[in-house]
Amino acid sequence: MEKAIKRYWPVFVLPTLAAFIIGFVWPFLQGLYLSFCRFITIDKATFNGLTNYIYALTEADFLHSFWFTALFTVVSTLAINIAALAIALALTREIKGTNLFRSVYFMPNLIGGIVLGYIWNILLNCVLTLLGKPLMSLHAPYGFIGLVILMCWQQIGYMMIIYIAGLQSIPGDYLEAARIDGATERQILWKIKLPNLMPSITICLFLSLTNGFKLFDQNLALTGGDPAHKTEMLALNIYQTFYGRSGPQWKGYGQAKAVIFCILVIAISLFQLRATRSKEVQQ
């Protein structure tokens, strides 16, 4: 078997590698090059040096959207993971109808972001109208809260499933031994369950951090960046720069922003992975 793999590895590796290069590596390199250009269509690009990056890093809207995104990511990551873990803990006890609850909580995740965004847009705006408050597209804090609610509603079920799987894989004898030793429920949670859950927590934090940072559909559909770019997150800001403006310089600016964005996302996820991995324990 091993010999066969040694001899035939190109057959297995090359098709996928070719697809990866054609579909990912090459466009990425081309995108990197275009971030130094002015262009409308990519076959007529002119080199522009660092102008695009200088513009991107000094644009007030882009910086605002960075901080807005960062705040959103922190708040939504915390809210999603705390709630998901709480529900997972509740649903791993022997309650009747656990499976029903699990399916119901998971369902929101099956609906696409754009649809959810529009539904919540109508829903939240109706509530705000009834309360006599300004609508989301007029008042940025409401837009922010709306986004957090929407993301929680969509993501909690998904993270919950991962946490449930993690909880169920904790060997029963750990818990039993702890109980015999007289540990309280609280001690069991902090000393046994959470350390053993670290792999799940790593995954969930990773997913919700990157999801929050890269959020686009929900942002577009729920607030569209209104009022006046105040609720515009990074991905939407890049999109608006690239497509919302006309003129060759804007394509370059958008491209440069996209490269900065890509580096940010990679850096944050690497940092987070390293930080939580170090806390994982061997079972």
Partner: protein, 443 residues
């Protein structure tokens, strides 16, 4: 051995399908239809036409016209319509393909600035010679980069039946003061009458162009008139108080509270008008097909009146008439495709079938010598106003510096309507935003 061959075959099949997938992606064009191969009995066609259409309302009519042209000449014509509000994006990705659109459109001088490197010089073409006035050509220096193919009008569409119920007729509205008096009287008696003056000024993205672009044209127009200019990179906003007055009138005499306007769509506004909940509805001749028909209004119910803002010579003010639709031919297309496209354009505006389709099916008034009369009521009214000696208000909004400028003004207007922003913000976006966007445009 046979297992190995099987595995090899599987792998080969997989890589082939991958490559095929990539290859297919490049030549694919979205939602194409209307193209047909030439009939064998007809002369072999060289070249083909690919028209990227801007107006979703007229998609079907264009598809039919393309089919008719192919049957007549054997030249394949593909018409693709970009989804509403995504024309620039679609054009950008389509034009980079190996079979780019041969015929596309820009919205005026500002749109042309983006696409002028792709525009074929139409100055010697037959279709250019058919224009009724040189003013309908979009020029880039001496070159004719684009040709207007439709003239449209907008104003305040009025439900005459409801207006009569309120005790007025359209003759009573000859100025901004009249309009204000009538609208405020209707609002005062709203409960008794059962309808409002204006349909909701929807500031949702699907309809805010009615105010940030079309209504904003009026203060622009009067300022340009005063200065005798056609475009500027520094607007003063001399008529912004009038802009405020008309916008206030719209939002305070409407079917809904100003605070909820930001979520009202263009459809909401039209449906209110169709349901007889409002007398006035600011929109253009392109709405005709949506308003008149079975179960809707008849020509006798409707009229379009000029948008009076209390500026200029109101007694002689006509509808806002102009164009923001210019045809451009892609200069990077193949030689024979360019020729085929020019022939197609010429056929559309001169042949019996083409002009008839443009007038009747699409409801257009076209600025070409061979134009036929359109059954569109609003278009006829525009002609009647002009015949009475009224001055049409020209479309100056294609000189607005960018889409972003319009959005910023629209945002400020929405906030002002809801009470979360002030009118000063609108003025600053209008005047200062104009200057900074022009600076960015040229930078």
């Amino acid at each position: 051995m046979s297992k190995k061959i099987f595995a090899l075959a599987l792998a080969a099949a997989m890589s082939l399908s991958l490559l095929a997938g990539c290859g297919g992606g490049n030549t694919n064009t979205p939602a194409t239809s209307g193209s047909a191969a030439g009939d064998g009995s007809k002369p072999a066609a060289t070249g083909s036409v690919y028209y990227l259409n801007f107006k979703p309302e007229q998609d079907e009519a264009w598809q039919n016209l393309a089919k008719a042209y192919t049957e007549e000449t054997g030249v394949p014509v593909t018409v693709v319509t970009a989804a509403s509000g995504t024309y620039e994006q679609t054009l950008m990705s389509e034009i980079a393909k190996s079979t780019p659109p041969t015929l596309f459109q820009v919205n005026g001088p500002v749109g042309l600035a983006n696409w002028k490197d792709y525009c074929y010089d139409l100055s010697g073409s037959a279709v250019y010679g058919e224009l009724t006035s040189d003013g309908y050509a979009l020029k880039d220096g001496d070159a004719v980069a684009g040709i207007a193919y439709v003239i449209e009008s907008y104003g305040i569409i009025t439900n005459k039946t409801l207006l009569a119920k309120a005790g007025y007729s359209i003759e009573d509205i000859q100025s901004f003061a009249d309009l204000k008096k009538v609208a405020e009287d209707i609002t005062a008696r709203k409960d008794e009458l059962g309808f409002a003056a204006f349909s909701s000024a929807g500031m949702d993205g699907s309809s805010d162009w009615r105010f940030k672009t079309h209504l904003a044209n009026l203060p622009l127009y009067f300022e340009y008139q005063d200065k005798g200019i056609g475009t500027t990179d520094a607007i003063e906003g001399t008529y912004l108080d009038n802009y405020k007055a008309i916008f206030d009138l719209y939002i305070n005499n409407s079917t809904c509270e100003p605070a909820v306007l930001s979520s009202k769509t263009g459809d909401d506004s039209r449906n209110e008008f169709l349901a007889g909940e409002a007398v006035f509805f600011q929109n253009g001749s392109w709405e005709y097909g949506n308003l008149v028909g079975e179960g809707k209004f008849t020509d006798d119910d409707l009229a379009m009146i000029p948008i009076y803002i209390g500026a200029g010579d109101e007694a002689n003010q006509g509808l806002c008439t102009g164009t923001e639709n210019y045809w451009c031919v892609n200069n990077s297309a193949k030689e024979e495709d360019i020729q085929a496209t020019l022939d197609f354009m010429y056929w559309c505006v001169t042949s019996e079938k083409g002009t008839k389709a443009m007038a009747e099916d699409m409801g257009f008034v076209i600025p070409f010598k061979g134009a036929q009369e359109s059954p569109n009521l609003f278009v006829k009214q525009d002609a009647a106003y002009t015949a009475e000696g009224k001055m049409p208000v020209s479309w100056n909004f294609p000189t607005m510096p960018s889409e972003n400028w319009k959005n910023e003004v629209g945002n400020a207007l929405t906030a002002y309507a809801a009470g979360t922003g002030s009118w000063d913000d609108v003025v600053s976006k209008f005047v200062d935003g104009w200057a900074s966007e022009y600076a960015a445009l040229n930078g």
